[in-house]
């Protein structure tokens, strides 16, 4: 493989990881847009999604598409429960309180799952998806799994954009995000809208969890790093902005892939945080922050 093929290979590898970051980042960005809350538990919702998919395919032998959709529904239910039980009672409390609660929910989910399913890593059953490797351009490879990652992420992102722009519920979300008091005066049920935002965000995280499970091992602490990095992606793109989260996720995935390629794989995790600190100092509103004012 020549340099150019290697570059393409690394970019393709980064695209798959970036798609996962993007799916998780969408949930972060929506919740932040509407509640100004960094939902630390979001990475763990992703973990729960991965385990739902595991048990549905490995123990109940469901076909993959059914397991994917069921896991997404289960995680959106979990998202709504978390919001109702842990965050809603604190609406009028200082933001610090809610943030600490989010950390508590995150730690709780992680440790609960350690108790429930043991800390050992697992993999999805081997035949859950057909395996195929495509090859082109003098040895550059990608798999059916990669295609699935890209496809699902694209469909969900465009679906979300359509939902937010063109449906009544989506309009309500935008209104609450813009000014929740005014929205409430206009007859929008703010509580219901927040609940819906959590459901949609968790729905996407559930999808990301099941997708990652088809390729990588899953364990109860798997949500921590991707969760933090997805937050970085959301900030990078401009928090609260849907296309920003997707672009931020993809950029982060690519940068990590290129950093590993350059021989600094040990510093890969640090890169995300260096990007975060730089962006916060140089351009806190993110890449899309000033041009696209609209927030969800």
């Amino acid at each position: 493989m020549g340099f150019f093929q290697m570059l393409v290979q690394q970019l393709l590898n980064g695209l798959s990881q970036g798609a996962i970051y993007a799916l998780i980042a969408l949930g972060y960005t929506m919740v932040y847009g509407i509640m100004r809350l960094i939902n630390f538990a979001h990475g763990d919702v992703y973990m729960v999604g991965a385990f739902c998919g595991f048990f549905l395919t490995a123990d109940l032998h469901w076909p993959f598409p059914a397991a994917l959709v069921a896991s997404m529904l289960l995680t959106s239910l979990l998202g709504m429960i978390i919001e109702r039980a842990a965050y809603r009672p604190l609406w009028n409390a200082p933001r610090l309180t809610m943030l600490i609660t989010a950390i508590g929910v995150s730690l709780f989910l992680e440790n609960l799952f350690i108790v429930l399913v043991s800390p050992d890593p697992r993999t999805y059953p081997a035949g859950v998806l057909p395996q195929h490797t495509f090859q082109f351009f003098g040895g550059v490879r990608f798999t059916l799994n990669d295609v699935l990652f890209w496809g699902v992420t694209a469909v969900l992102t465009f679906g979300l954009q359509f939902f937010v722009q063109n449906t009544r519920s989506g309009q309500a979300m935008r209104a609450v995000s813009f000014d929740s008091d005014a929205a409430s005066l206009m007859g929008i049920d703010v509580g219901q809208t927040v609940s819906l935002t959590f459901a949609v965000g968790s729905f996407l995280a559930g999808a990301a969890g099941v997708l990652i499970g088809t390729v990588y091992q899953i364990d109860p602490l798997m949500g921590i790093m991707p969760g933090l990095k997805a937050f970085v992606a959301a900030v990078l793109g401009g928090i609260g902005i849907i296309p920003g989260a997707v672009v931020g996720g993809l950029i982060l995935g690519e940068v990590e892939s290129l950093v590993s390629w350059a021989g600094f794989s040990n510093y890969r995790d640090a890169v995300a945080f260096i990007i975060l600190i730089l962006i916060l100092l140089v351009r806190p509103s993110g890449l899309f922050g000033s041009t696209a004012k609209e927030k969800v």
Binding site: M1, M6, Q9, Q10, N13, S16, Q17, I114, S118, P119, D120, P121, R122, T123, A126, Q131, T133, R141, T143, I212, Y216, Q217, M225, S257, S260, W261, S265, N266, R268, D269
Partner: protein
């Protein structure tokens, strides 16, 4: 207002203080007596001998610790069925090291406070080094089943053997040396690539020794890559390894990441050359997670093989299967061996004093599951290593050859 405030604050402080004392009491005093300094004393509490076990029950090495614990329990049950050590029942006290040196220190302190006469643990190197330093100051012998780093039994600052620390496994450099020899002599490899888990001293130790012996005997290292245990995607580094086109790839990491590496290397990048590693590969999880077809043409060095036909191994495997309904891995076998070595030493010393047990341990000359064991001056066992090869027809790793030191 002010008085009220004062009372509430006082009450809170009082409640908290009492609660703290009670809780600390519960936590520390569950074993009743036994000051930390008692060094075991001549006679342990009424007809029983208390042995501490500090292994990984949580954290990333939990799977090793849990296997080792099964082996230790089995050994203790066998001894107790035969009347214990010199007529005294063995009582095991288990604590979790959390796969971390700080957790290991806390677990060991708990055991010392509970008045154990000796400690078995832990299964990985960094926590065991912390434990070895701690037991040294309390004159309590420590034997680790599987901590392979050289610093476990030798203090790197002084170069002296730690008087109270022993282990039941061979050390890292030996595994790297054995694999390098096998590659050159049996596989006729000329070019090797090394992928190291930089987060683990164990991995770095094996890689270093492999590199040294492989290049000394005329081989060439064409690529060196590294990863850490939080990595999920290894395609970036594997793509580079593939480009270097080595005859063999040496990956002395732990099975969690190995499963992923093998899946990506074989199915996604189409790399067909032999991949090989050390005892960190030894876990049923590897096969389960990587899939048989991805493990074809892989090898690893290990402490024992359950296929070994020697009676010691076969009896152990049979008993283990009967008790746990599973084939024992090396961690279980070495947990069992460590316990056997320690119990024998206490029996021969006919004493529970630390110094006496240490003297008896140094004289160990025993046939155990992982072979015939004696200790050298560094408290490392002198024994053989086996090489295991994946057999696709059998769907498992099988015994390939035995290499003596």
């Amino acid at each position: 207002m002010y008085r009220n405030l004062r009372n509430r604050a006082l009450a809170s402080v009082g409640v908290v203080a009492v609660a703290a004392l009670v809780l600390t009491g519960c936590g520390g005093a569950s074993s009743g007596s036994g000051g930390g300094n008692s060094s075991g004393g001549g006679s342990a509490s009424g007809g029983s001998i208390k042995i501490g076990v500090a292994l990984e029950n949580t954290g990333n090495a939990a799977s090793y610790g849990q296997s080792g614990w099964k082996g230790v329990q089995m050994a203790a049950e066998e001894w107790n069925a035969k009347g214990g050590i010199n007529g005294k029942k063995i009582e095991l006290d288990f604590q979790d090291t959390k796969s971390d040196p700080t957790g290991a220190t806390q677990a060991t302190t708990k055991l010392l406070s509970d008045g154990v006469v000796a400690i078995i643990g832990s299964s990985i190197s960094s926590p065991t080094i912390a434990m070895a330093k701690l037991v040294e100051s309390r004159q309590i012998p420590l034997i680790s089943p599987t901590a392979t780093n050289a610093d476990v039994t030798v203090d790197p600052d002084t170069g002296k053997t730690r008087q109270y620390a022993f282990r039941a496994c061979f050390i890292d450099p030996f595994q790297g040396q054995v694999m390098a020899k096998y590659d050159l002599d049996t596989l006729h490899a000329k070019k090797a690539a090394i992928i190291t888990d930089v987060g683990e001293d164990y991995s770095k130790g094996l890689a270093q020794s492999f590199e040294q012996h492989f290049t000394q005997s005329g081989g060439q290292i064409v690529d060196k890559e590294s990863y850490t245990k939080t990595d999920q995607d290894f395609r970036a580094i594997l793509t580079k390894v593939k480009q270097a086109n080595p005859d063999v790839v040496y990956v002395p990491g732990y099975y969690n990441q190995i499963a992923q590496i093998m899946k990506e290397a074989r199915s996604q990048l189409g790399m067909t050359m032999p991949f090989e590693g050390g005892d960190g590969w030894d876990s049923p999880t590897l096969l389960q997670n990587a899939g048989a077809s991805n493990l074809v043409n892989t090898y690893y060095t290990n402490h024992y093989s359950s296929d070994d036909t020697s009676p010691a191994v076969q009896n152990f495997v049979k008993a283990y299967k009967a008790k746990y309904n599973a084939t024992p891995d090396s961690f279980a076998a070495l947990g069992y061996d460590a316990a056997q070595i320690l119990f024998n030493a206490i029996k021969n010393a006919n004493s529970t004093k630390g110094a006496d047990i240490v003297a008896a341990l140094e004289k160990t000359d025993l046939d155990v599951v992982s072979g015939h064991i004696t200790f050298n001056a560094q408290h490392d066992p002198v024994k053989a290593a086996v090489i295991l090869k994946f057999d696709q027809a059998a769907g498992k790793y099988v015994f390939d050859s035995k290499v003596n030191p």
